[in-house]
């Protein structure tokens, strides 16, 4: 009996040790990862330019390759990098910049977050540099991408990386089952809801616990019903902007769809992080889903033959009958943004500018983005699309390109565009609106109270 117990104890010890080792390894990989010697002198210390960015593929690999190309070409002014996970980054960069320890190159999402940096005098005004010295670079980028980089008429960030509009995805098989065509208007959507419910298919998938997922619906309804100026007024801080008649109509239509069981059962406990909302679509439990273009890659890799078998359909959000909005308008992330710290030395700023100018939207980068199923923020992306051989990927990339390029107005996601204070109140009230626990009128009142904050 004794050997038995000993071996069991050893086994338990091994398991425990293994778990501990795994835990330590996890800590190691989730913590910041630095290139050698990069710990000293972030920000203004004068020992070289620094750059912090996010982990996660395929983006991480493309960013690393950019830095490598830059450092190989400029061995005397190397860029030092630190990589973070998304959530850790959001907390860390804010604290670091507040404490004057931020990196030279500040990566971000533009909009309200950028505005906070500008108001705290933490980032450089890049208007002159971009319009005079780097006019070619500026002209190569989609003009719509600059809106979220501009604060009070001045450009504080350079758009980079990818354009990801929000589109209406659908399952072609579900439409065949009920013998209907994809919706051409908001009225069609409302008509489709009972038809899908009768067949036991949820009309729309939604990861409602994440809240910004619900917000995408309001972004489109506001635009299609009242035009892009409704949210623009709110963004500009116009008093009682949320009480605009079109806004109230949009909120009412939203609740009508919820009351008609337009969304999958239990949507308010589903999160987008787990990709359960996408799974509902590709497993045939839901017929449609309004979501960001970034979900394509995961649906392709996780959805069996959903994408490769040609079952995935997609379209821009349809118009609302009698609405004022331009049906070509879209919302989403017009790009990701890089700013330069105003606290950095002149030499560091020069290095950072050189990196932005030469390596963030160069040919190699553009090609890498397209290969990874993304549309980079440059007009030349179109030329690269011809080289894509996969039929489904090619159709998808062309659709995303056209949606972004033809949009009369490409609005930034509200939670990124607004200040963090307004954004959190907004997400909170959206969750309540979708729970039907507040009326459109109450929603408008709650939101009007934080306009301009």
């Amino acid at each position: 009996m004794d050997p038995m117990t000993t071996s069991r104890r050893n086994f338990l010890g091994l398991v425990g040790g293994g778990a501990l080792a795994a835990g330590l390894a996890a800590c190691g990989s989730s913590g910041p990862k630095s290139t050698p010697g990069s710990t000293a002198g972030a920000g203004g210390a004068g020992s070289g330019a620094t750059y912090w960015f996010l982990t996660g593929q395929p983006q991480q690999g493309i960013r690393e390759a950019q830095v490598k190309r830059f450092n190989d070409a400029n061995p005397d002014t190397k860029l030092k990098t630190t990589e973070f996970q998304n959530d850790a980054f959001k907390q860390k960069i804010k604290t670091a910049i507040g404490a004057g320890q931020g990196p030279t190159l500040i990566w971000g999402w533009g909009g309200g977050g950028l505005k906070a940096y500008v108001e705290a005098n933490q980032v450089e005004d890049l208007t002159d540099w971009l319009t005079k010295e780097q006019a070619d670079l500026k002209n190569s980028i989609f003009p719509s991408a600059f809106t979220a980089a501009t604060v009070n008429g001045k450009i504080y960030a350079v758009p980079g990386e990818t354009v990801t509009p929000i589109v209406l995805f659908y399952d072609k098989r579900a439409f065949e089952k009920i013998g209907a065509e994809p919706p051409q208007s908001w009225g069609d959507i409302m008509d489709l809801v009972p038809k899908f419910n009768d067949k036991g298919i949820a009309p729309f998938s939604l990861g409602g616990q994440s809240r910004w997922t619900n917000m995408m619906w309001l972004e489109f309804l506001f635009d299609r019903i009242g035009g892009s100026e409704v949210f623009q007024n709110i963004f500009d801080g116009k008093k009682d902007g949320w009480s605009d008649p079109s806004a109230l109509k949009a909120l009412e239509e939203m609740q009508k769809l919820i009351k008609a069981n337009g969304f999958v059962k239990g949507f308010s406990s589903i999160t987008a992080d787990s990709n359960a909302d996408q799974a509902l679509l590709f497993t045939g439990k839901a017929a449609m889903m309004l979501h960001g273009a970034w979900t394509y890659g995961n649906m392709k890799s996780s959805g069996g033959d959903f994408v490769t078998g040609g079952h995935l359909g997609y379209m821009n959000f349809p118009p609302v009958d009698g609405g004022k909005g331009d049906p070509s308008d879209t919302v989403g992330n017009p790009g990701q943004y890089m700013s330069i710290s105003s606290k950095a030395t002149d030499a560091e700023k020069a290095t950072a500018k050189k990196f932005i100018a030469n390596n963030t939207l160069d040919d190699a980068t553009v090609e890498a983005w397209v290969k990874s199923g993304n549309i980079p923020v440059v007009k030349s992306a179109k030329d690269k699309l011809a080289s894509i051989t996969d039929k489904n990927d090619s159709a998808w990339l062309n659709f995303v390109y056209d949606t972004a390029a033809n949009a009369k107005n490409f609005a930034q996601s509200w939670d990124q565009a607004l200040s963090p204070t307004q954004a959190e109140t907004l997400l909170d009230n959206i969750a309540k609106l979708f729970q039907l626990s507040i009326s459109p009128q109450q929603f408008a009142t709650n939101m009007n109270a934080v306009i301009g904050q």
């Binding site: 907390q91 804010k94 604290t95 910049i97 507040g98 906070a116 940096y117 108001e119 705290a120 933490q122 409602g208 616990q209 999958v264 059962k265 239990g266 949507f267 308010s268 406990s269 589903i270 359960a276 799974a279 509902l280 439990k285 200040s419 963090p420 204070t421 954004a423 959190e424 109140t425 909170d428 969750a431 309540k432 729970q435 626990s437």
Partner: protein, 280 residues
């Protein structure tokens, strides 16, 4: 040994506490300069309708989870205090939830309770296929269930120790007087465990004030704000709305509430800290 402990307490307990108090009178977005704000944060938080709601939810979870956990832990603890082999074996099984981290528990339950891909949907059991975390009335119940599932083992352990410390002579005397098992439980075990009950209750009550990780992962305060407890409200104001001032006000309120509750519970135990058994 007093000095190092005191130093650590001052360094990691008292100084941050003073920092929070100071911050509660300022306006700070965590990014720019800190401005003095006088009493404005306190006024705005105390007049915000979110605060009474969060306090209500916090107390609801505190009281209900106490009411579920205490009797079950007491019974389990008494049962496990027996020296039989099979009880020792069961004790090991009961102990398992305590070994898991709250986050792991939350993620697991979230997957099990998913209305579309969860346990109920997978096994086609209609009654389990509820929108557990998406309905305000069900979500709090589910939270209390999971909290209890996680912490009953811990409190059972405390009670097991308490029961084993009761002199067996008392039970022997009671059996001679003709008291049955149930009578013994209520007349000897429960009164003898008075201080154990107070200790365990204090841990539950004060612990549930700072309850955060499980709720954050499981419901994020939702649906709507149905499960937004004080600690979550503090986090959201501070780290999502970038309003460190109001968040510090809530942090200060949590500290005050915790202190008050701990003091009340101590009072309930009487002024003497001497064990009842020594007098018995």
């Amino acid at each position: 040994m007093v000095l190092p402990a005191l130093l650590l307490f001052v360094l990691f307990g008292v100084i941050p506490l003073i920092g929070v108090l100071v911050l509660s009178f300022t306006q700070w977005d965590g990014l720019g300069a800190i401005h003095a704000a006088g009493l404005s944060n306190w006024k705005s938080v105390l007049s915000d309708s979110q605060l009474p709601h969060s306090i209500l939810v916090t107390f609801e979870i505190m009281i209900l989870s106490w009411a579920v956990q205490t009797p079950m832990s007491l019974l389990l603890g008494t049962f496990l205090a027996g020296r039989q082999r099979y009880r020792a074996f069961l004790a090991v099984l009961y102990f398992i939830p305590l070994l898991l981290s709250s986050t792991a528990i939350a993620i697991t339950y979230k997957a099990l309770l998913d209305p579309n891909f969860g346990l109920g949907a997978g096994l086609k059991i209609g009654f389990l296929t509820q929108d557990w975390l998406g309905r305000s009335d069900l979500a709090i119940g589910v939270l209390i269930f999971i909290v209890s599932w996680q912490f009953i083992p811990f409190h059972s352990l405390i009670y097991q120790g308490g029961v084993r410390a009761i002199p067996t002579t008392m039970y022997e005397a009671a059996s001679i007087d003709g008291a049955g098992r149930i009578r013994q439980f209520f007349s000897i075990t429960v009164p003898q465990l008075k201080y154990t009950i107070i200790t365990s209750s204090t841990l539950m009550v004060v612990g549930s004030l700072t309850f955060f990780d499980l709720i954050f992962v499981l419901t994020a305060g939702g649906p709507g704000d149905a499960t937004r407890v004080l600690a979550l409200d503090m986090y959201k104001r501070g780290f999502m709305s970038n309003q460190m001032g109001p968040a510090s006000v809530i942090a200060a309120l949590i500290v005050l509430l915790g202190l008050a509750l701990a003091l009340i519970l101590r009072r309930l135990g009487g002024s003497t800290t001497a064990s009842q058994q020594e007098g018995a």
